[in-house]
């Protein structure tokens, strides 16, 4: 099993509903977020192009944050989801420094926190909160090993990219372009 997510940059309108949905669903402390929306403006006026991306942890298949964690608090569970065990985490910050996407943050309680692909919902057969709430339905989630999953189907149909693959992290968050 290999969970992955695809975000359609052509459909996203940058409303940030996904961010709020995540904060509510996961009780993210005020002032922090596990996902965020980036707007990239490219070109010279009047020929400007805008790309909108809802970003979060890429649940990298070759995750530097897991590699550098001294206690094993950062670990990978079935389906390739990267998680942190709060009562194993010493809050050293190594994983935060090791993530090229700055996808982690220190929780005010001391341990490190990040996107979990809403594993608690996925286990119940639901979609992650951000995917479920998106008003433009621009996100797809599922198992890449299953050729019929939403995410496999859309990735076959559309062109996609990942973020800084040259960092060697093998990110599993795809952006449809």
């Amino acid at each position: 099993m290999r969970y992955a997510m695809a975000v359609d940059t052509k459909k996203c309108v940058g409303c940030s509903d996904c961010v709020v949905a995540c904060q509510t669903e996961n009780n993210v402390p005020i002032g922090f977020c596990r996902d965020w929306v980036v707007e990239v403006t490219d070109g010279t006026y009047p020929q400007l192009e805008i790309e909108l991306r809802s970003e979060r942890c890429n649940h990298c298949a070759n995750a530097p944050c897991v590699r550098c964690c001294p206690t094993g608090a950062s670990h990978i569970v079935e389906g390739g989801i990267v998680l942190v065990k709060p009562n194993k985490c010493i809050g050293c910050g190594a994983c935060i420094a090791s993530c090229p996407y700055d996808a982690r943050y220190p929780h005010p309680k001391g341990y490190v926190d990040k996107c979990t692909f809403c594993i608690h919902r996925v286990k119940e057969g639901m979609k992650p909160a951000c995917v479920a709430v998106c008003p433009t339905k621009c996100m797809y989630f599922g198992d890449l090993d299953d050729p019929n999953s939403e995410v496999s189907v859309i990735l076959k149909k559309r062109k996609s990219k990942t973020l800084i693959p040259e960092a060697g992290t093998q990110p599993q968050l795809y952006f449809l372009i």
Binding site: G14, S16, E39, I90, G91, G93, A97, Y105
Partner: protein, 313 residues
């Protein structure tokens, strides 16, 4: 134009707008670790070379810096942890791929060994020292008999500790400035030069002072070579590493790096060492303190600048 904005307003503390997860205790810890590695390396080396009597300060006295530095360094590291109550989790596992993990174990070994080494030489400072309990005396007798193996352990672990202070950073490919394999040898050299400088500062024997002035000079030269080498590597590398190098070549860290680390920390003390060797009398305090400050500044500049360097996307 190419502009990237986080429009949902991400303001994660210590991550935005620039990574700042590691504060002053981390470079302090790296400096103290490097210093301890330096003094222990020379103590073990000259003991194993049979020069214990000749170089008393190096073998017997200066190593007393090490346990103090290591304990202070570990305290600094502990202070910068965000989840302190779980500190012990570090010592429930060894994770070879995580420098922080094997570094923590290395520090445990070298700190213990440094305490034993100092206990064996405690009479340098307290000639009438007497261990109160028999078991302590037994331990002393045991390690006196096995001083050679102890010195070997210290020698090897001092090198590992010195290299570790650099590898801790160079293992992060997410921070292009740190991600260079030169950093291990470079920080080892910086630690060794701090160690040699401490011996020059503490020794009262002219021959010993001259020897360590020479050693210091060689290490400072090596450091300078490694720094040039590092920049050549950065400038010939990918765009992210070229931009990382720009932090020191016109960017915000240019002045601190070239003035405090290179000129005041390496070149001037190197020239003063050279003058001393040529027979001009230079008060040992000046190059010694400059080298220590340079080594200290080096870790600060690197830890802070590295957190600013990043991948672009």
């Amino acid at each position: 134009m190419n502009e990237e904005l986080i429009i949902s307003g991400r303001e994660n503390l210590m991550v935005d707008p620039q990574l700042h997860i590691w504060h002053w205790p981390i470079p302090l810890y790296l400096f103290l670790g490097g210093l301890a590695a330096g003094v222990l390396f020379f103590a073990a080396l000259y003991y194993l070379l049979g020069k214990e009597e000749q170089y008393r300060a190096a073998v017997r006295r200066v190593p007393f810096i090490a346990p103090v530095a290591l304990v202070l360094g570990l305290a600094a590291l502990f202070y910068d942890l965000n989840h302190k109550a779980f500190f012990w989790q570090l010592y429930t596992t060894i994770r070879i791929q995580s420098p922080m993990s094997w570094g923590a174990w290395t520090l445990l070994v070298i700190t213990t060994a440094s305490f034993i080494w100092c206990a064996l030489h405690i009479r340098e400072f307290f000639p009438r020292w007497d261990w109160k309990y028999k078991w302590l005396k037994d331990i002393e007798v045991f390690f006196n008999k096995n001083k050679k193996p102890l010195a070997w352990v210290i020698l090897i672990f001092a090198i590992i500790t010195g290299v570790y202070t650099g590898i801790l950073l160079s293992a992060f490919n997410a921070r292009p400035l740190w991600n260079t394999s030169v950093l291990g040898p470079l920080f080892l050299a910086s630690g060794l030069s701090a160690g040699a400088a401490s011996i020059v500062l503490a020794s009262k024997n002219r021959e010993e002072r001259l020897l360590f002035t020479k050693i210091d000079l060689i290490i400072l030269g090596t450091e300078l070579f490694l720094i040039v080498h590092m920049f050549m590597g950065f400038l010939a590398s990918t765009q992210v590493q070229q931009e990382a190098a720009q932090l020191f070549l016109g960017g915000p860290y240019t002045m601190v790096f070239w003035i405090f680390v290179v000129v005041l920390g390496i070149i001037i003390p190197g020239v003063l060492d050279l003058m001393e060797l040529w027979g001009k009398h230079i008060p040992a305090l000046i190059p010694g303190v400059l080298v220590l400050m340079g080594s200290f500044a080096f870790r600060f500049v690197f830890v802070f600048a590295g957190q600013v360097s990043r991948w672009l996307y």
